[in-house]
């Protein structure tokens, strides 16, 4: 864990150099950038962008992968490759929203618990422990089923539990930092608590948060895919990778591409975030972030 204060500017170049020497991180970054670009430009880069909607072509259903349809076609004759690229959008959106909700909440609670200690720490960390005792997928299933199944509710359900991991991480870092010289110095100089929390301690958590975020993005995408595989995803005809795997599974093993190839797409994007996170972890030398 790097806990030094400000870093000189030249470190950026050093970091970049070290980053580019790390094959895992580079491959991860390339996959992530490719996925995000493909998802953003989906209408322009896919061969059949209209297949994202209600297009049916029963004459061309269940076509095997070919030069025209790289991933084959599904049970109503739509191009699976185009739909998988659009499906990336849903997966990435899920990751952005869940982490966008969970990280701020988790980080602030972690800072408070770690810095103030006492009953603040007790309350926050006990609630965290309770939340950690519920398997996220089970919770998400229960919430999504209890409300109407939809993408929004799935995201809500996942976010509801996800902040706990960030709370724990930031809590343990903050506890170590609390007794560091630069924090004590700031306290002696009469800096406000907000200043200490957000200006002194938080910047030192950034590298850990970055690593965690990248790893998390992969896991959130996996959980989201599992939920939509179980039928709690976005409504058709909007393509969603988990749903595609589930409906394709009805046609195994004859039309294997309908489930296997969208499954590979999930694997691909999850792998990208994981490799990137792994690479960043080596780079920042934050060993204990999982």
């Amino acid at each position: 864990m790097s806990v030094s204060g400000q870093k000189p500017l030249s470190n950026a170049w050093q970091n970049w150099w070290r980053f580019s020497r790390n094959p895992t991180a580079v491959v991860g970054a390339i996959i992530v950038i490719t996925s995000v670009t493909l998802a953003l430009l989906a209408p322009y880069v896919t061969p059949f962008p209209e297949h994202v909607g209600a297009v049916v072509d029963f004459a061309n259903r269940h076509q095997a992968p070919s030069a025209v349809h790289w991933f084959g076609t599904d049970n109503v004759g739509r191009d699976i490759f185009s739909r998988a690229i659009f499906g990336l959008r849903v997966s990435l959106l899920l990751a952005v929203v869940v982490l966008g909700l969970a990280i701020p909440v988790g980080v602030v609670l972690g800072l408070l618990a770690g810095y103030f200690g006492g009953w603040v720490e007790i309350v926050i960390m006990r609630v965290t422990d309770i939340a950690l005792a519920i398997p996220p997928l089970v919770m998400a299933l229960a919430v999504a089923a209890v409300l109407t199944p939809s993408l929004t509710n799935s995201m809500l359900a996942i976010a509801l539990l996800w902040w706990t991991w960030h709370t724990r991480l930031i809590y343990s870092i903050t506890r170590q930092l609390r007794s560091q010289e630069f924090v004590e110095a700031a306290e002696t100089l009469g800096a406000s608590r907000a200043h200490i929390l957000f200006r002194e301690i938080l910047p030192n958590c950034v590298s850990a948060i970055a690593v965690k975020t990248s790893l998390d993005a992969g896991f959130v995408i996996l959980i989201g895919a599992a939920l939509s595989f179980l039928g709690l995803g976005i409504q058709p005809p909007t393509p969603d990778l988990g749903t595609m795997v589930a409906s394709g599974a009805s046609f195994l093993p004859d039309y294997w591409w309908e489930s296997v190839l969208p499954g590979c797409a999930i694997l691909f994007v999850a792998m990208g975030f994981n490799l990137l996170g792994d690479g960043l972890r080596d780079l920042f030398d934050v060993e204990d972030v999982r």
Partner: protein
Amino acid sequence: MAVAALGFGGATGSMALAQNVVTMNTVQIFGTIDPAKISDYTDYMAAVNLYDSLLTVDSGGNLIPQLAESWTVSADASEVVFTLRADATFSDGTPVTAADVVYSFERLLRINQGPANLFAGVVESGNVVATDDRTVTFTLSKTFAPFMATVPALMIVNSAVVEANLGTDDGQTWLAANVAGSGAYLLESWDRGSRMVIKRNPDYYGEMPDNPIDEVRWIVTNDEATVRALAASGELTMSSQFQSPDTYAALVDMGRFRMVSEPTATAFYLKLNSQLAPTDDVHIRRAIAYATDFDTIREVIFPGEAMSTPLPEAFAAFHNDDIEGPRYDMARAAEEVAMSAYAGQPIPLTLGYVAGTLFEEEISLLMQSNLEQLGFVITQQPDPWNRVTEIAASPETTPNVNQIFFGPTYPSPDSMFFTQYHSDAAGTWASMEWLQDPAVDDLIDAARATGDVDEQAAIYKDIQAILMDQMVSVPLLAQTVQHAMDNCLDGFAAVPMQSFDYDFARYSWSC
């Protein structure tokens, strides 16, 4: 772990079976086996094997004796006297008496679930009377033509056994897991959610075919891959009727299976909510009917027989043959849209279907692609089945278009018309049209009040004409029930009442 040894362990198929065992997959779990609570297709499938009724139904829709050997109906149809078979016994060997019939009926009304609504307002509590051990009289509160057709839904419980296990809830807890009946089969084991096994009662009082089925195992799975795996391992002898065409083909390719298919009285509709914009406009409803690609649905997506009115042709005597069925015509659809109050603007429309049902999703997509060409703005609304039953409770939450299967719950056209179109039956998944038309109500009541079959037929034909003119239900197809069946298994014949066709006392093994 000895991996090599595992390869030799696959002795599943080689186990010698002296008995005739049918293994069938079913796509839904058995909800209950209590005859006072059974409501859906799967519930009835177990119940008809475990319990007997006074009467049962054959594949022609005719009532045939079961526990009752004979019955007489009074001239004004207000009183029915049943005479029980002298040799009828429950599975514990005690005789089935008229008192058991009375007990079963009163228990049904007390619990007030399942088939109770068939008798509500028709036979009051206290009006089923045992005259002697073998004679029981039903006195009707009003003339109700379909009454006899509902009698098979009243399954007879062994009153002594239920009394002995009464608990605080009329024996509901006990009968949820145990059987006190006189059926041809006994409950062997029931692992809710995965399987149910029933065994033949060797002391069954009734007639059984030669070489009868000794044991039936239902495996609950709706997964096509699982069904194929079960068939490949030699375990499966009969598929459910809800497999995909690919699975049927794969099973037939195995050589051991043949396809049996029969037309049924179960209809598949697009039910159009007539109280919600824009389907409150008859022109919009007609436009939707014209925008329906019937051939693709019937030939590619879900095989079935064409239907020209909301009444399946299985009810031949009551079917209005003069009506020309709906057809696919996009030009006419556009004309109808133009005539509607919503012409010239984007028209929002929700398409509801049962989530996770692949063919319904395909139909919904097909509808969407056609309707979007007409200027509709489509929202797909897949809901799990239990949610469908909820949203059907009010016209505001019922989607504009709903894909619904409906089959007769008793072998009478009344079951099709009353349950779907009468105002008194509103608020269920079967009546998502929200028709609420006093003229139609009167006609249905009139048919119920007459014992004259010709008069009934004339009334039912009028109703069909009104329904097709209003186009509240687009009749997509009459379901063809299909099963992949082991070449050795015989006896399947579709019955126009619930799942009475899976009474395995009618099946036999021919190998």
